[in-house]
């Protein structure tokens, strides 16, 4: 049991001489026997254990074995690009094995490489085909479109014929056989474009039809329901059977209802 007065002295920063004077005059401290200073005295006779040289060398080497969290932030972008030097990769790996925060960040960043590419929906080609003419109108690219190429080709042929040449012979002589090829390519592109447009139109029509089909079903059910309710309202009401009344105006039994049958045993 420790003496509260001695503890107050200790907390107030009293010297060991003051503490000793207190113990000499305090019955509690004398009864307690050995005092707390004895522990301090024992500890003071011990020396600090010497650090082994191998440990000192290992501690000096730490910056070459790992990186700090700051260093990891600098190395992670390179790791994502697979541009880490082998030493840096080893140091980063050592740090990530010990640091939960950096390890989580690395897993998130490196995980982006493994994400699958989204698959284009089947209607996208048709939509893009529909959207394409709007872009052409805004720029001069229509000049190089299939229609323009065909028009220019015909125009050039007419001019050549007016000048007295056979356009086919002239083309062979000049060696512009590619003109026919490019024309065919332009026609193919135009066909493809028309096909895409038709696909988009077909899809839009099908969707509109589905909507109208649903609406028609709803309207039909409403019409049938209204017709049934109108017919029901206009049908003749059933008349109640009047019972014969006695002279008090109260209900009286019919003759058949008052007739009893006797049974012979």
């Amino acid at each position: 049991m420790s003496c509260p007065d001695l503890e107050k002295l200790f907390l107030a920063g009293a010297s060991r001489e003051d503490a000793r004077r207190h113990r000499d005059s305090c019955a509690t401290c004398r009864a307690a026997g050995p005092d707390a200073d004895a522990v301090e005295d024992i500890a003071s006779t011990l020396k600090a254990p010497e650090m082994p040289p191998s440990l000192h060398a290992a501690l000096i080497d730490i910056p070459r074995r790992t990186v700090s969290c700051e260093g990891a932030e600098r190395l992670l972008p390179l790791a994502v690009e697979n541009e880490l030097l082998p030493d840096d990769e080893r140091r980063l790996s050592s740090h990530l094995s010990r640091c939960g925060g950096c390890s989580e960040a690395a897993a998130t960043l490196l995980g982006t490489r493994d994400l699958a590419e989204p698959i284009a929906p089947p209607w996208l080609a048709g939509r893009l085909a529909v959207a394409r003419p709007a872009k052409r109108r805004r720029s001069l690219s229509w000049i190089f479109g299939p229609k323009s190429v065909i028009a220019f080709a015909y125009g050039a042929a007419v001019v050549v014929m007016l000048l007295g040449f056979n356009p086919a012979d002239l083309a062979r002589k000049v060696g512009v056989g590619e003109l026919g090829q490019s024309t065919r390519a332009a026609v193919l592109v135009a066909e493809s474009s028309v096909t895409d447009r038709l696909g988009a139109l077909q899809e839009r029509v099908a969707r509109t039809l589905a909507v109208w089909k649903g609406r028609a079903g709803g309207y039909g059910r409403a019409v049938v329901s209204n017709a049934v309710s109108i017919i029901w309202k206009n049908s003749p009401k059933q008349r109640t059977v009047e019972r014969p009344r006695n002279r008090d105006g109260r209900g009286a039994f019919k003759e058949s209802e008052t007739t009893t049958t006797s049974w012979r045993t």
């Binding site: 522990v39 020396k47 000096i60 700090s68």
Partner: protein
């Protein structure tokens, strides 16, 4: 002092090898000493010291120079030390401190009898430290065995100075009481007084 230490830490952060070497030279011995007192085993102390310095290196950017670097080092490594201490406490050998465990802590003496006494007292001290609560034991280790100042212990353990002093007083009183009880149980009631007198203690 903290400004110089902050400058040293900043140089370490910039990757200056000399700065890191200076830091290890300044604090390596102190950290190893604390680690040894918590583990009482050379291999474990080396491993713990490396973990403490690894953690220090990886967290250098967190040091703002507001308190002594040694206190910051210990505050970072407190959980590591306490974990080792608990692990050691669960082992059977913990309360039976061997001669080898205390040998690195003893000063060589020409008088073999006095050296034997010191060894015996050290073994008793460490075995009793294992019996008292952790919060008392760690303060006694840091103050009496490692010689840290009250404010350094307070910063390391995130405690006010008054609490540090109060716990230290209780830790010393508790250790003294347990040592006395142990000797009384063994029928060697005067042994502790003898040991303490031999150490020059005040009884």
């Amino acid at each position: 002092m903290s400004a110089e230490e902050k400058a040293l830490v900043d140089r370490c952060r910039q990757g200056e090898d000399d700065a890191w070497r200076t830091l290890v030279d300044q604090f390596g011995q102190k950290v190893y000493s604390v680690a040894y007192h918590f583990t009482l085993n050379r291999d474990d102390a080396e491993e713990l010291s490396q973990e403490i310095f690894l953690k220090t290196f990886e967290n250098l950017h967190r040091y703002d120079g507001s308190f002594p670097l040694v206190a910051w080092l210990l505050s970072l490594s407190r959980n590591l030390c306490i974990d080792r201490y608990r692990r050691r406490k669960r082992e059977k050998s913990f309360r039976f401190v061997s001669d080898d465990a205390v040998a690195p802590l003893l000063k060589s003496d020409d008088d073999p009898a006095a050296e034997a006494l010191r060894k015996e007292r050290s073994k008793i001290l460490f075995s009793v430290l294992a019996e008292i609560p952790e919060d008392l034991a760690e303060i006694l280790v840091l103050r009496d065995l490692d010689g840290l100042a009250y404010d350094e212990i307070g910063k390391a353990l995130d405690l006010p100075d008054g609490t540090v002093k109060s716990r230290l007083f209780r830790a010393r009183a508790e250790v003294a009481r347990r040592i006395r009880e142990r000797h009384e149980r063994r029928g060697t009631a005067g042994a502790f007084q003898t040991l303490a007198v031999a150490a020059g203690g005040v009884l």
